[in-house]
Amino acid sequence: MRITQGCFSFLPDLTDEQISLQVQYALDKGWAVNIEFTDDPHPRNSFWEMWGLPMFDLSDAAGVLMELNECRKVYGDRYIRMSAFDSTHGWESIRISFIVNRPKNEPGFRLERQELAGRSLRYTTKSYAVDRPEGLRYGGK
């Protein structure tokens, strides 16, 4: 099941050229671009791991793409997303975030039912991927 999180997630995957245009847009606005990765695709998992530091003071997307390619080399089997942080007063938060890399095979989620007293049920979703330990979830060794 294809994960849809952040901007553009209902579009086909962005090409590198499209990614760099988006990144350039963010840089032109003065936002700092971050690269984050995870192998826990649950939608409530908001704490992805960062690849390096937020990239402040860049002027061209080529620098970000360089980092992204390096991140893909190491974590190409996981989800990688880019987010752009606006540090101006009043915003001080993420303005845009989109997935730039995803595992080849996304197994999706199952619905778990917990039976409680009096026939009531509690539901939760669980990704099939997280059944395996971290790092091995998407065919990592």
Binding site: S59, G63, M66
Partner: protein, 311 residues
């Protein structure tokens, strides 16, 4: 717009397969606006003949390259990495800034910003510190020009475990693989740069343009001084100019002469003396002319004339 593009749709299709055959060179030249940058270079930089010639050549090549691309005559992106060698104060940094704007106008760098760094900003202090630092700088410079001043400090021949080597390797890799994203300009004093290139042959061969900055002649130094004064809204009285000509002659024979930089320092000290002279007589009514003029006494008070110490 629609009706126009319909009309021109056919020729456009043809130009896709059959690239343009003819180019109006003058129009192309004016369009890019490179003429004014070169003129500005001529106007604002005194002397530096070989440098200007080389920059003109590079600019022409880039212009032709642009046209060739439009004609569909595919060629590799020309290597634009440069090395500037020359004595202190010969204008290496100034020219690097100009080069960036030329390259930007011609569209060979996308942003045109210049990141000026020295060894400190590239090389770390402990193991594993250098790579992130260098990468950080490279990322900032992407799409523009990376200017490495005193580049020979990157390599310390006396210490083979020096972290500078790591920075050099990263630089070389990016200079090769991301030629269209980044232009690297190295600058440094002539003999030290020669040694630097001798110990890093990879660097030498990756840099297409080695430009040597000559020392200025006395006349050129005087012209520079007057240009600087004009920018600061000062001027020489005629006897002061004569005194300054002598000053240049004497100063050049002393050690640690740094061309235009020494001239600028000398002018700054003259401004001090002039201010002091004006303040000494508080009862006077000053005119704008008094405040703008440097007199011979301001020049002659320099220690250079006393031949005692280095200024």
């Amino acid at each position: 717009m629609n009706s126009q593009s319909d009309a021109s749709a056919n020729p456009q299709d043809v130009s896709e397969t059959l690239p343009i055959e003819q180019v109006d060179l003058r129009r192309e030249f004016n369009e890019v606006g490179i003429g004014e940058v070169l003129d500005q270079l001529d106007r604002e930089l005194v002397g530096l003949k070989p440098v200007k010639t080389r920059i003109r050549e590079i600019a022409s090549l880039l212009l032709i390259e642009r046209i060739r691309k439009r004609m569909g005559l595919a060629a590799e992106v020309p290597t634009l990495h440069m090395s500037f060698t020359g004595n202190p104060g010969t204008g290496k940094t100034t020219v690097a800034l100009r080069i960036a704007s030329i390259l930007h106008k011609l569209g060979f760098v996308r942003r045109g910003q210049v990141i000026s760094v020295t060894r400190d900003e590239l090389v770390g202090q402990y193991i594993g510190h250098t790579a992130p630092k260098t990468k950080e700088i490279l990322k900032k410079a992407m799409g523009g020009v990376l200017f490495i001043d005193e580049a020979y400090y990157l390599h310390r021949p006396d210490n083979e475990r020096d972290y500078g080597q790591e920075a050099i390797e990263m630089l070389l890799q990016v200079m090769e693989s991301q030629r269209e994203d980044l232009v690297v300009i190295l600058a440094g004093y002539g003999d030290q740069m020669d040694k630097f290139f001798a110990s890093n042959p990879g660097f030498r061969s990756r840099i297409a343009h080695h430009i040597d900055f000559p020392d200025y002649s006395d006349d050129e130094l005087l012209a520079i001084a007057e240009l600087m004064l004009r920018d600061m809204n000062y001027r020489f009285r005629s006897d002061a100019r004569d005194a300054f000509v002598r000053y240049i002659h004497l100063r050049k024979m002393q050690p640690l002469f740094a061309n235009a930089r020494s001239i600028r320092n000398a002018l700054d000290r003259m401004r001090l003396r002039q201010a002091n002279r004006l303040v000494a007589d508080l009862d006077r009514v000053l005119t704008a002319d008094d405040i703008m003029s440097l007199e011979a006494s301001d020049v002659l008070a320099s220690r250079v004339f006393a031949k005692t110490a280095i200024t």
